[in-house]
C-alpha cells in the first residue's frame, strides 16, 4: 500500500526518470552466544579482507551528572592496551598490515561506542585476539598513568576540535541549552574539561565493569571468511568471557524548551557570522523520524533545498546552509544552520530563514521535493554497502540496525519507512516540532565584531 501511495504521489516526476532498482540486500547470519554476545556474520568475498566491528551499547546517553565526556574518554582507554596484547594495539595491527586511521579506529556517539579494524583475511585470529583481550583483560593493565595521559589527550581534543574550530563552541552551547544538566547530553559527547579531568581510576574501572560486559556488545564480521572457521574463532576468544551485568536501554529523556531563547555566541576562530536555530526533536525509530529526515533534507540538503535556493542562489546572503534531524535512543534535535557570506549579518539572515519555516508550516512541501529526498536516502544506503567496514560500511549498518531495530536485516524495512512518508506528514512534523515559541536562536559572530552581531 505504501508503495502504491508513493507511485501515485511521484507519478508526474517518475515519468521522466528511470525505473527504480531493487533495494540493496545484505545476506547475514545472526546468533547469540550463551554469555550474551550477539554475533552477526556476513560473507563478502570481493576483497581478501575481513572487517571486524564491535559495538558496545554505551554512549553519552548512559552518563550521569558530573560525568560528561565519560563514554568518549573510555574509548581512548581501549587504545591503551590490555594484558596480553601489550600497550599499543596499533603496533599489532600494523604488524599484520592494517595501517591508517580509516582501517582501524574507534568512535563514540550518544548511543554507542564502536571499535573496528579491516584486516587481511588470514589475520582474523589476531583481530579477535586483540578485541577479546581488551574486552576481557583491559583492567589488568589500566593504571593511573594511562588515565592521566588520556585525560590530557581528550582535553586537548576538545580544544582542537571544538574550541579552536570555527563554530565548534556554538555546537557545545546549543547542547547545553537544549539539554541542561543533569541531562547526559550536556556538553555533547566530548564533555567539559573539568569533568574529564576529574575522572578517577575507580570511576573509569566501574564504568568498564558496568557497560563493557560481553552481553552489552555486538560483534559483526563482514568479508572474506569461512563461517565455520569464524564461528570457532569467535567461540575460542569470546566464549570464555563471563556474562556481565544487564544494561537496560536508557529511558527516553527529552527536555522541553519553555520559550524562545535568543543568544549571541562570540567565536574567536570564525571570520563570518552563522545563524543557528535548534529545537528539541524526536527519538530514533519513532514513527515521526522519517518525516523529520525528509524535512531536514528538503530544507537543508544539496543545492535544491529551500535554504540554499533562497539564501545562496536568490538573495546571495549565505555561503552555506545545513539542516539536520538528529535522533538518538533517548532524545532528538532538529536544527538549521546558515553561514553568512562575508559582509552580511545574522539579522539579515533570520527573516529569510523565518519566511522559509513559515511557508513550510503553512503550505507544506511539494511531491517533487519529497520524491527527491526519498531517492537520496535510497542511494545513500546503496553506496554505503559498497564498503565492508571502516567508518560506516556494511559492518556498521548491520550493527546499527541490530541496536536500533533489533534486526540486522532491517534495511528493506527502513527504506519502506521512508517511501511511506507523505507530504502531509512532513508538514505536520514542521508544525509539531519546529514551533517559533520553543526554540533556540544562536547568533554566532566573530569575536572581534560583536558589536555588529
Amino acid at each position: 500500500m505504501f508503495r502504491h501511495v508513493l507511485l501515485m504521489a511521484g507519478a508526474a516526476l517518475l515519468f521522466a526518470l528511470p525505473a527504480r532498482a531493487a533495494d540493496p540486500q545484505i545476506k547475514f547470519e545472526k546468533y547469540q552466544m550463551p554469555n550474551g554476545l550477539t554475533v552477526i556474520l556476513a560473507e563478502d568475498h570481493r576483497l581478501p579482507q575481513v572487517a571486524v566491528d564491535i559495538w558496545y551499547h554505551v554512549g553519552a546517553a548512559n552518563q550521569t551528572k558530573g560525568k560528561s565526556g565519560f563514554a568518549h574518554l573510555f574509548e581512548h582507554m581501549m587504545f591503551s592496551g590490555a594484558k596480553h596484547i601489550g600497550p599499543t594495539p596499533f603496533k599489532i595491527l600494523e604488524g599484520i598490515g592494517t595501517t591508517g586511521g580509516a582501517m582501524a579506529n574507534g568512535t563514540t556517539n550518544f548511543d554507542r561506542t564502536n571499535y573496528f579494524e579491516v584486516v587481511p583475511s588470514n589475520e582474523l585470529p589476531t583481530a579477535l585476539w586483540m578485541e577479546s583481550d581488551r574486552m576481557a583483560f583491559l583492567l589488568d593493565t589500566l593504571d593511573e598513568k594511562k588515565l592521566a595521559i588520556q585525560r590530557n589527550v581528550v582535553s586537548n581534543e576538545r580544544r582542537q576540535s571544538f574550541e579552536n574550530r570555527p563554530y565548534g563552541t556554538a555546537v557545545l552551547r546549543m547542547m547545553d541549552v537544549l539539554f541542561p544538566q543533569p541531562h547526559p547530553f550536556y556538553d555533547s559527547t566530548i564533555g567539559t574539561i573539568a569533568e574529564i579531568q576529574s575522572a578517577s581510576l575507580d570511576e573509569i574501572k566501574a564504568f568498564f565493569r558496568q557497560f563493557y560486559g560481553v552481553n552489552n556488545a555486538s560483534l559483526v564480521l563482514v568479508g572474506d571468511f569461512q563461517p565455520d572457521t569464524a564461528k570457532k574463532l569467535v567461540e575460542q576468544y569470546f566464549g570464555p568471557i563471563p556474562r556481565g551485568p544487564e544494561v537496560p536501554v536508557p529511558a527516553p529523556n527529552q527536555p522541553a524548551l519553555a520559550k524562545e531563547i535568543r543568544e549571541t555566541v562570540n567565536d574567536k576562530v570564525a571570520e563570518v557570522p552563522k545563524l543557528g536555530i535548534a529545537w528539541t526533536g524526536v527519538r530514533a525509530m519513532t514513527p515521526e523520524e522519517p518525516a523529520g529526515d525528509m524535512l531536514a533534507s528538503i530544507l537543508g540538503d544539496g543545492r535544491t533545498c529551500r535554504l540554499y535556493k533562497r539564501l545562496v542562489l536568490e538573495k546571495k546572503l549565505a555561503a552555506g546552509v545545513d539542516a539536520a534531524n538528529t535522533t538518538t535512543r533517548i532524545a532528538g534535535i532538529f536544527n538549521v544552520d546558515v553561514v553568512a557570506n562575508a559582509g552580511f549579518t545574522n539579522e539579515q539572515l533570520l527573516p529569510e530563514v523565518q519566511a522559509i519555516l513559515d511557508d513550510v508550516k503553512k503550505n507544506g512541501v511539494t511531491e517533487a521535493e519529497l520524491e527527491r529526498a526519498k531517492r537520496k536516502v535510497t542511494a545513500a544506503r546503496l553506496r554505503e554497502v559498497e564498503r565492508i567496514g571502516g567508518f560506516g560500511g556494511k559492518a556498521d549498518l548491520l550493527n546499527a540496525y541490530e541496536m536500533y531495530a533489533g534486526d540486522p536485516g532491517f534495511l528493506p524495512k527502513d527504506l519502506a519507512r521512508y517511501r511511506a512518508v507523505t507530504a502531509q506528514q512532513v508538514k505536520d512534523f514542521a508544525n509539531a516540532y519546529l514551533p517559533d515559541d520553543h526554540r533556540l536562536i544562536q547568533f554566532v559572530v566573530p569575536a572581534a565584531k560583536t558589536a555588529e552581531r
Binding site: L47, Q49, F79, K83, E386, Y404
Partner: protein, 517 residues
C-alpha cells in the same frame, strides 16, 4: 538524512569521530623498554566476573592457512570516435557506476595574477550550462541522486561522477553537458566568487593551510603558478572575469587533453557507445604550449616562521622535491616512506609522539606526480616544544638519508603498502580516481596488478640508494605557530636564515591542505 546513518558516517560535529580525534595516542614509552610486568589479577567485582586466563591468549595467534591475494582489476582501454581514451573496469558487484574525467591541465595553466582560476572554473561547471540554469541543473542532478564534483590540481582537473546504474544514461547526459557546455553566466560567476572569498577569509585560522601555501611558494617559486596560494587570494579572485573562465575552458577542456575512466556495473561496449553518443560533439583543438618558469634550485636552506601568537600547537613541516611518478625509484621511495613517517610505528611518529610526547602525530608523505614529486614531513607540535621537535625531524631525516632503513622496517613497509591496496581500491569511486591518475601519468593499465611484485622486489640496496634523495639539509623548513616563545630557539638551531612572517591579512592563505593525504 537519517541521522542513524549520519552517526555511522561519523561526520556529525556532535560526535568525536574524525580520524585525527578518534585515534588516541598511546602512552609514551621507551622504545626498548620491556612490557610492563602483569599485575596481580584484580579482585572480582560484583556483576563483572573475571575471564579465566588461558595459554592461547599469551601470544599473538598465527595467521590462517593460505596467503590472501589481491588481483587488482585491469581496465580495458578503448578510444572514442573523437580520440578520447576511455578506460573501463567492469564491476557488477553493486549497481553503481563511477566516471572520472581527467583534463590534463590544471593550476599550471593559470596566469599568476589570476591565481584560483582553475578552481573557479571547476566550481562553476555545475552552476549552469547553456541550456540549464543553475537551479534547474541542480534539480536534475539531485533528482537522479547522482553525485557530481570537480577539483583542480597542480597538473590536472578531475570531473567525477557517481550514478546508480538505473540512472546512468541520464547521469551521463548531465555530466557531458557540464563538461562541454558550462555557461559561466555573470550572475553565477559573481555569486561563486563571493563564496570563494568568504572561504579564503575563513582560512586565516587554519595553520595547515598556511603551511601548505608556504610550501608551494618555496618548492615551486613565487613566479610559478604552483607557488601561488592555493585557491588564489581575494585580489586574484576579484580579477577573474566570466571571459577568463570561458577562455580557460575553451582552451583546455578538449578531447585531445582528456582521458575518461569508468568503474562499475556496466559493460565496456555499452559504456563506449554511451560516451560516443554524448561526447561526439566535443572537438579537438591544438593546445597552446605553456612556458613555465624553471623550479627553483633548493640550495640555500631557509626557515619560514609564520607567527600565530595564540596557537596551542605549531605546524612544523620540512619539504623537498623528489622524483616524479615515471621514475622506477618512485615505488621504492613510496615503500620506504612507510618506515620514515607513513604509519603509526614509523620513525617520525615513534620519536616525536611516543618517545618525546611533542605531538599527537607526525607523518611524512610522498607525492610522485606526472612532472614533479615532493616529500614532506609534517605534524602539529605542542607549541612550547617547537624547536626541540624540529631538531628531532632533522635527526630522523638525516639518519634516513644516510642509512636507509633496516631489513625489518623494509619488510613491514612492504607489508603495509601491499596489504592496504585492496582498501584503497574498494569502491568504484576509488578505482575510477586511482586509474584516472594512472592513465594521466601513463603508467599503464596493469599498474596496480603489477605493483605488488614491484614492491616485493625492493631490495635493501634499493632502499639505501633511494633514501639519499632526502637532502633535508637543503630543504626549506616551514613553521606556523607562536613565534614569541619559539623563534629565538629555532634560530639557535642554525639551520639557515629565519624569516618571520605575519598571517596574511587578506586571507590569502591556502585552501585545503595540499599534500596532507
Amino acid at each position: 538524512m537519517n541521522k542513524i546513518l549520519a552517526a555511522l558516517l561519523a561526520a556529525l560535529a556532535l560526535g568525536c569521530a574524525t580520524t585525527e580525534t578518534a585515534v588516541p595516542p598511546a602512552p609514551p614509552e621507551k622504545p626498548a623498554a620491556p612490557p610492563p610486568a602483569p599485575p596481580a589479577t584484580p579482585a572480582p567485582t560484583p556483576g563483572s566476573p573475571p575471564t579465566p586466563d588461558a595459554a592461547f591468549r599469551a601470544q599473538q595467534p598465527a595467521p590462517l592457512p593460505g596467503t590472501p591475494t589481491f588481483d587488482a582489476p585491469v581496465p580495458v582501454v578503448k578510444k572514442l570516435k573523437n580520440g578520447v581514451e576511455v578506460w573501463v573496469v567492469e564491476n557488477p558487484a553493486i549497481p553503481v557506476v563511477a566516471v572520472e574525467v581527467v583534463i590534463k591541465s590544471g593550476v599550471n595553466a593559470e596566469p599568476i595574477e589570476k591565481a584560483g582560476l582553475a578552481d573557479l572554473v571547476v566550481s562553476l561547471l555545475d552552476e549552469g550550462t547553456r541550456t540549464r540554469p543553475a537551479d534547474k541543473l541542480a534539480e536534475a542532478i539531485e533528482d537522479l541522486a547522482m553525485r557530481l564534483n570537480a577539483n583542480a590540481g597542480r597538473e590536472d582537473i578531475r570531473v567525477h561522477m557517481n550514478s546508480l546504474t538505473e540512472a546512468l544514461p541520464q547521469a551521463l547526459d548531465l555530466m557531458a553537458d557540464v563538461l562541454l557546455n558550462p555557461a559561466f553566466r555573470p550572475e553565477d560567476v559573481s555569486r561563486v566568487k563571493d563564496q570563494k572569498i568568504t572561504d579564503l577569509l575563513q582560512k586565516k585560522g587554519v595553520p595547515q593551510a598556511l603551511a601548505a601555501d608556504e610550501m608551494g611558494r618555496l618548492l615551486f617559486g613565487a613566479k610559478h603558478p604552483w607557488g601561488q596560494p592555493d585557491g588564489g587570494t581575494p585580489e586574484t579572485i576579484r580579477a577573474i572575469t566570466p571571459a577568463d573562465l570561458q577562455k580557460f575552458h575553451d582552451t583546455w577542456f578538449r578531447p585531445n587533453n582528456a582521458v575518461v575512466v569508468v568503474s562499475g556495473d556496466v559493460k565496456v561496449d555499452q559504456m563506449v557507445k554511451m560516451l560516443d553518443e554524448r561526447l561526439g560533439a566535443w572537438k579537438a583543438k591544438p593546445l597552446p604550449k605553456l612556458s613555465l618558469p624553471a623550479l627553483p634550485d633548493l640550495k640555500a636552506r631557509t626557515v619560514t616562521f609564520v607567527d600565530m601568537p595564540n596557537a596551542s600547537q605549531s605546524q612544523v613541516w620540512v619539504a623537498g622535491r623528489v622524483m616524479n611518478a615515471k621514475s622506477p625509484d618512485a615505488v621504492v621511495l613510496r615503500t620506504i616512506n612507510f618506515a620514515l613517517g607513513g604509519m603509526f610505528t614509523s620513525r617520525l611518529n615513534m620519536n616525536l609522539r611516543e618517545v618525546h610526547g611533542y605531538s599527537y602525530g607526525v607523518r611524512s608523505a610522498v607525492e610522485a606526480a606526472r612532472t614533479y614529486g615532493t616529500l614532506m614531513a609534517y605534524g602539529g607540535i605542542v607549541a612550547k616544544n617547537t624547536s626541540e621537535a624540529l631538531k628531532e625531524y632533522e635527526d630522523e631525516l638525516a639518519r634516513f638519508a644516510s642509512g636507509g632503513i633496516t631489513g625489518e622496517e623494509l619488510a613491514k613497509s612492504k607489508n603495509a603498502f601491499i596489504r592496504t591496496m585492496p582498501s584503497r581500491l574498494e569502491t568504484n569511486d576509488a578505482v575510477a580516481s586511482a586509474y584516472g591518475t594512472v592513465a594521466f601519468y601513463e603508467l599503464g593499465p596493469d599498474y596496480y596488478k603489477t605493483l605488488p611484485a614491484k614492491i616485493s622486489a625492493v631490495t635493501p640496496a634499493d632502499a639505501t640508494r633511494v633514501a639519499k634523495v632526502v637532502t633535508a639539509e637543503r630543504w626549506p623548513v616551514i613553521i606556523v605557530g607562536p613565534a614569541q616563545e619559539n623563534a629565538d630557539k629555532v634560530k639557535k638551531l642554525e639551520l639557515g636564515p629565519v624569516e618571520l612572517k605575519a598571517v596574511p591579512s587578506s586571507g590569502g592563505g591556502a585552501g585545503s591542505s595540499v599534500g596532507v593525504k
